[in-house]
């Protein structure tokens, strides 16, 4: 299916919760979703027999530097061989996005990484710990206003 | 040899001390040479050169430098280790390996202790090492070491059985447990050796003995007690310096021990393969050592060829392959001996 058809199908199902397909080459065409409906949309995309997005290629946390954090989902279907990009934006003050870990297990580590580096809180994730930074690291390094701490456990950080 | 020495000294203790020192004079240089050989053989099998620097010709002094380094090293004992056991373990392991040399017939004229149950003694004493390995693993207070020790105990005890049965095959033919006597029975051309008697049963017993002796010395493919990629270094992970060197020495000593037992039991020991040609007590030492070294080489060769078995597969090989087949051999040889004479 082309992205347009997928978008139409999604629009028919979820209505206002999702935006229209946005196309601006060279960008990949993408659909924005309301953050609270992420899990529903994901479950639909995964289970709908016409869509069958069974392969979550990539899940990236973003800091848009406009007070919003975001998550970008790059989906692929092994059976139907089509792609889709989803975007979610949440305010930095309350960066809560439902976890899709139960839909694509691969999201487990991706979400932990996005939590660790960007600071997005994935609601419903079974084990939301830091994954790349030390467990007691403070702050989320990929946020645009992140300041590197001077000391970590008594050690000077910018060596 | 005992008589010869007695003509020099009149004191028993001195005579026995001299006799006891002789194997040590062989074990130490042999271990250094075997380590060097292991490294060179490994290197050349892998298209490398190996140690080339120390001592000039092909790095022959490398292992001497290594042992000097090990002697100088600090002896580190983990804080929470059981200090006494940690100290005792390498000694027990080394004693177990070294004591067995006493009954090895190096030549028709020399055997450390002429006991008439030589084979039995060697089997019994070399199992002492198990205690040392378990002590080492337990005393280190390291979970990986403990794993190594547990594996090694399980392994050595299970492989004792096929080893003993394979030895029994020879004992049935020879009718004695005296190694010197067994050697004497194989005098003559190489077809007099036991390995070619009652073909193929003794030959199979020989293979079984060799394979299980690999396991007893913790060599690849049965090196799971010290499996480097799994257990880091197994029971000797927490050992440094001279204590580590003792483990090392014991391992290489054991390698020679089992090779020597194999050659004594199956391949004529100190007998020349060519009848009277190059035979006699002095040549006997040569034949004995070179047969032993050949099997040491085969052990090294196997180590750099094969992957390692898993614990359960190791047990499988012992209990389901080697033990039944050694029973078959023993029975067949027994019947043959009784019926065929």
């Amino acid at each position: 299916m082309t992205p347009q058809e997928i978008a139409a199908k999604l629009k028919a199902r979820f209505g206002e919760a999702i935006s229209d397909l946005k196309e601006a080459p060279p960008s990949d065409p993408f659909i924005s979703i309301q953050s609270l409906r992420v899990k529903d949309v994901a479950a639909f995309l995964r289970s709908d027999p016409d869509l069958e997005f069974d392969y979550l290629m990539c899940l990236s946390g973003m800091d848009y530097n406009n007070g919003n954090l975001g998550v970008v989902y790059n989906l692929y279907s092994m059976t139907k061989r089509h792609k889709l990009t989803l975007r979610v934006e949440v305010p930095k003050a309350d960066p809560k996005v439902p976890s899709v870990e139960s839909i694509w297990r691969t999201a487990d580590w991706h979400e932990r990484e996005a939590y660790d580096l960007v600071g997005i809180v994935f609601a419903g994730h079974p084990d939301l710990r830091r994954i790349l930074c030390p467990y007691d690291w403070e702050g989320h390094p990929l946020q645009k206003d992140y300041k590197v701490p001077e000391f970590y456990q008594g050690m000077k950080v910018p060596y | 040899m005992e008589e010869l020495l007695r003509s020099f000294f009149d004191i028993d203790i001195l005579v026995f001390a001299v006799i006891a020192i002789v194997p040590l004079l062989w074990v130490l240089p042999y271990a250094l040479f075997a380590v060097w050989l292991e490294r060179k053989v490994a290197a050349h099998m892998q298209d490398r050169l190996g140690p080339m620097r120390v001592g000039g010709w092909h790095g022959w002094a490398q292992t001497i430098a290594d042992i000097l380094k090990l002697i100088q090293k600090e002896d580190i004992v983990p804080t929470l280790a059981d200090k006494k056991l940690h100290f005792l373990a390498p000694l027990v392991v080394f004693i177990g390996s070294y004591a067995a040399f006493a009954a090895l017939p190096f030549s028709s004229a020399y055997v450390g202790s002429h006991v008439n149950v030589g084979v039995f003694y060697i089997l019994a004493v070399s199992s002492l090492a198990v205690v040392g390995l378990l002590m080492a693993g337990w005393a280190s207070n390291n979970k990986w070491s403990l794993f190594g020790a547990m594996r090694s105990v399980a392994q050595i005890i299970s492989y004792e059985i096929p080893t003993a049965l394979a030895i029994l095959c020879v004992v049935v033919i020879a009718g004695t447990l005296d190694l010197q006597e067994i050697n004497r029975m194989q005098t003559g051309w190489f077809w007099e050796w036991f390995v070619f008697k009652k073909f193929p049963f003794v030959f199979v017993a020989f293979i079984i003995f060799f394979v299980s002796s690999l396991a007893e010395t913790n060599r690849t493919p049965f090196d799971i007690p010290e499996a480097e990629s799994e257990l880091v270094a197994g029971y000797h992970t927490e050992y440094t310096g001279m204590k580590f060197a003792l483990f090392f020495l014991a391992e290489y000593g054991n390698m020679f021990l089992v090779s020597a037992v194999a050659s004594s039991l199956f391949l004529g020991g100190w007998n020349s393969p060519f009848g009277d040609f190059m035979s006699g007590p002095i040549w006997g030492v040569f034949w004995f050592l070179s047969k032993g070294m050949f099997f040491v080489f085969v052990q090294i060769w196997l180590r750099w060829t094969l992957p390692r078995l898993r614990v359960d597969q190791l047990m499988h090989v012992s209990w389901k392959v080697l033990t039944p087949w050694s029973f078959v051999c023993l029975l067949a040889i027994g019947f043959w001996t009784v019926l065929g004479g």
């Binding site: - | 053989v41 290197a43 050349h44 099998m45 892998q46 298209d47 490398r48 050169l49 080339m52 060769w301 196997l302 750099w304 060829t305 094969l306 392959v321």
Partner: protein
């Protein structure tokens, strides 16, 4: 049961096959070399230690900008119109005193990104790969041809010239802001230790 015997047979057979291979390799010549005694010939394009031909450097700072790890530090002082710094071998006229050209080779990642931007091809990667040091500060290479005194001299001259120019300007127009003084940091020689 057939599997049992087949397994024993394949085990013995594959072990023998393996032993044959390793045994034959025992007699093949080694592929390794005795390194410090025998050295491999590096290809022409080998990327190792950086070298700067400071005579050709015009102080354009392009290599420093291209460096992803910021291991090149360049400081320059404008020459006076009366000074003649000569030309590079490519025929470009030099206009800047290169008072500092430090490469911290310990930081260098040998990516080679600094080489193509150089307009006079004076920075290049050489074949030298043995340059370990006991002291990390010895790995900061000073390429500047000027000594500490010369740098001071050049700076003083430049400052005096700027002052003069500023005074001229002030005289010509009105009070103008004083010429911005060059930061008098430590001279490049001081890091040499």
């Amino acid at each position: 049961m057939a599997k049992y015997f087949k397994d024993i047979f394949t085990s013995i057979w594959t072990v023998l096959v393996g032993m044959k291979i390793t045994f034959l390799h025992l007699f093949t010549p080694a592929v390794t070399i005795q390194y410090p005694d025998v050295k491999p010939k590096l290809p022409e394009r080998a990327r190792n230690r950086l070298y700067v031909n400071i005579d050709d450097c015009i102080g354009c700072d392009q290599c420093s900008n291209a460096c992803p790890v910021d291991c090149i530090e360049i400081e320059t002082v404008k020459s006076l119109p009366t000074d003649d710094l000569g030309t590079t071998s490519t025929g470009q006229k030099k206009r800047l005193w290169v008072t500092k050209f430090d490469i911290d080779i310990a930081k260098c990642c040998y990516c080679g990104l600094c080489v193509p931007p150089c307009p006079t091809e004076c920075i290049k990667m050489t074949e030298v790969y043995e340059f370990s040091e006991y002291d990390r500060y010895n790995l900061i290479y000073n390429f500047s041809a000027l000594t500490a005194e010369q740098v001071g001299e050049v700076r003083a001259k430049q400052a005096a010239y700027e002052k003069e120019q500023a005074a001229k300007k002030a005289a010509a127009v009105k009070p103008a802001p004083a010429a911005q003084p060059r930061p008098q940091q430590q001279s490049p020689g001081s890091k040499k230790s």
